[in-house]
């Protein structure tokens, strides 16, 4: 299957083969592979895998839309998150700090799909690493929903004499990735 996914990304498959692989990615992989496949799907949907053409992206998006448990958010829950207006710019959206944090660190790639749908994949595509004691990168808790909200909150309270909470923001702005 991995080879087929690789071929899919490299655009080496015929259109009908692409659909088969996409369906397998969505529906038939073992549960333990959930995280990886959704990450890949998220990468593809957002065009972060450079080689994938627009037509393939559209196909995957269409397949995903037929899989509401995968990517479609709970609209009622989403509406509850809508923030109030503030001085001025743009339109307030419900994603909040979580989306910001995930974006800043470029870690939870899956969680930043189409903006309104951002967090749902990450929620579904979690992997329990309880008590593993392993520091991992793409599967670490740094990808977890709400983590960067907490990291930012932590940074504001840092008692380091250095920059009064600036350092945590520096880490975010610098696009720092989790340790490999």
């Amino acid at each position: 299957m991995n080879e087929r996914i690789s071929q899919l990304i490299d655009q080496e498959l015929m259109p009908d083969q692409q659909v088969v692989v996409i369906d397998k990615m969505i529906n038939h992989e073992p549960a333990g592979k959930t995280w990886q496949r959704y990450q890949l799907i998220g990468d593809i949907v957002r065009g972060e895998v450079d080689q994938v053409g627009a037509d393939l992206t559209e196909k995957i998006s269409a397949r995903l839309q037929a899989e509401p448990t995968v990517i479609a958010p709970d609209r009622s829950a989403r509406e509850n998150r809508i923030a109030g207006p503030d001085a001025g710019i743009g339109i307030w959206k419900p994603v909040g700090l979580f989306a910001m944090a995930a974006s800043l660190a470029v870690v939870a790639v899956v969680t930043l799909g189409p903006l309104n749908d951002s967090y749902q994949v990450g929620t579904v595509a979690a992997v329990d690493q309880a008590e593993s004691g392993q520091v991992e990168s793409r599967r670490s808790i740094m990808h977890a929903e709400g983590f960067h909200e907490m990291l930012t909150g932590h940074g504001e309270f840092t008692s380091s004499p250095a920059f009064n909470g600036l350092l945590a923001h520096v880490v975010l702005v610098s696009n720092q990735s989790p340790v490999q």
Partner: protein, 323 residues
């Protein structure tokens, strides 16, 4: 008794306030001066951040005007992201995601973390201090201050403070075996010059970006909690205990903040449904280690610029009080 102690502390603070930085000789004095300068000194410069073999550069400008802070951090490599901070708000400009995010800062103007004379006793319990040599950093003379951790529960620091203003020009986070875990270094800096409004304004045009935000107000202090943190390394004390609503609309997050005088540990507790499959375990980003575990239908997350063992031990000591 209390009055004389207060007077003595005020005198010490006033001394630090008015004397030029270079007259201080004691490493503790330098720490206080660094802390004070971080809150009082205007600067603009290029900050180099090194971690895990990666080097990132960013422009940092800070202005203190009328007692209020304004700050801009702008990434000079990679995506052109920037953060604008004021006393109580923070704006994240993320043009590569076509978005601006706004949030409230959790520390208010009165909550500037500083080192005060009362903190020194706590610091001495956890760290040793040495003054090093003078060194030229960013074309300025700097004083080296070594802050050596007394145990393996925390990292040490090697700091270089500007000889005249006290502003920190370089900070190395150092492990027990002397390895530099993380480094911040100003490559160039202008101190106490005029910082214009333009230098603090975002480069990114908000008109082109979508705005996201957190409408929740500042967090509130927790009066009573059903949670307790039973295992803490020596020297850590509870500094803050707050509760805020999750911007995800998924209930409250309880936040314990512990400090040993320099390093900070956060314990977050968030209620969640069973079997949502949230990730747990250990993670690392820069010098920050985090450990997340589940207790019943709550997720407990411990975050700190400390070794991995520290966050693990603290997380495993979090208990739900039965009552």
């Amino acid at each position: 008794m209390m009055g004389s102690g207060l007077t003595r502390r005020m005198v010490v603070v006033l001394i630090f306030w008015f004397l030029p930085a270079h007259v201080f000789a004691d490493p503790f004095d330098w720490l206080m001066k660094i802390s004070k300068a971080a809150a009082d000194v205007n600067f603009i410069g290029t900050l180099v951040y090194t971690n895990n073999g990666e080097i990132k550069t960013m422009e940092v400008a800070r202005r203190i005007q009328g007692g209020l802070m304004q700050e801009r951090i702008y990434s000079l490599d990679g995506e052109p992201r920037e953060i604008i901070r004021s006393e109580d708000k923070v704006w994240f400009y993320i043009p590569d995601k076509n978005m601006v995010v706004h949030d409230y800062r959790q520390v208010t103007k009165s909550g500037f973390p500083r080192i005060l004379p009362d903190d020194l006793d706590q610091l001495k319990q956890n760290y040793g201090f040495e003054e090093g040599e003078e060194k030229r950093i960013a074309d300025r003379m700097a004083i080296e201050i070594k802050v050596i951790a007394n145990d393996a529960w925390r990292y040490g620091y090697t700091l270089w403070a500007d000889k005249h203003s006290g502003l920190l020009l370089r900070s190395d986070l150092v492990s027990q075996d002397g390895e530099i875990v993380e480094q911040y270094l100003f490559a160039d800096i202008e101190i106490n010059g005029v910082i214009t409004d333009a230098q603090l304004a975002p480069v990114s045009s908000a008109d082109q970006l979508r705005l996201f935000g957190n409408s929740e107000p500042m967090p509130e202090s927790v009066e009573s909690s059903e949670w307790s943190v039973t295992k803490l390394p020596d020297g850590y004390q509870l500094n803050n205990h707050i509760r805020r609503m999750s911007p995800m609309g998924k209930g409250e997050i309880e936040h314990f903040v512990y400090s040993d005088g320099l390093s900070t540990l956060s314990v977050f507790i968030k209620k969640t449904s069973q079997n949502q499959g949230e990730m747990t375990g250990l993670g690392r980003m820069g010098a920050v280690h985090a450990y997340r575990t589940r207790i019943g239908n709550h997720l407990v997350t411990v975050i700190g610029e400390v070794p991995a063992e520290t966050v693990q031990v603290v997380a495993r000591g979090v208990q739900l009080n039965k009552g």
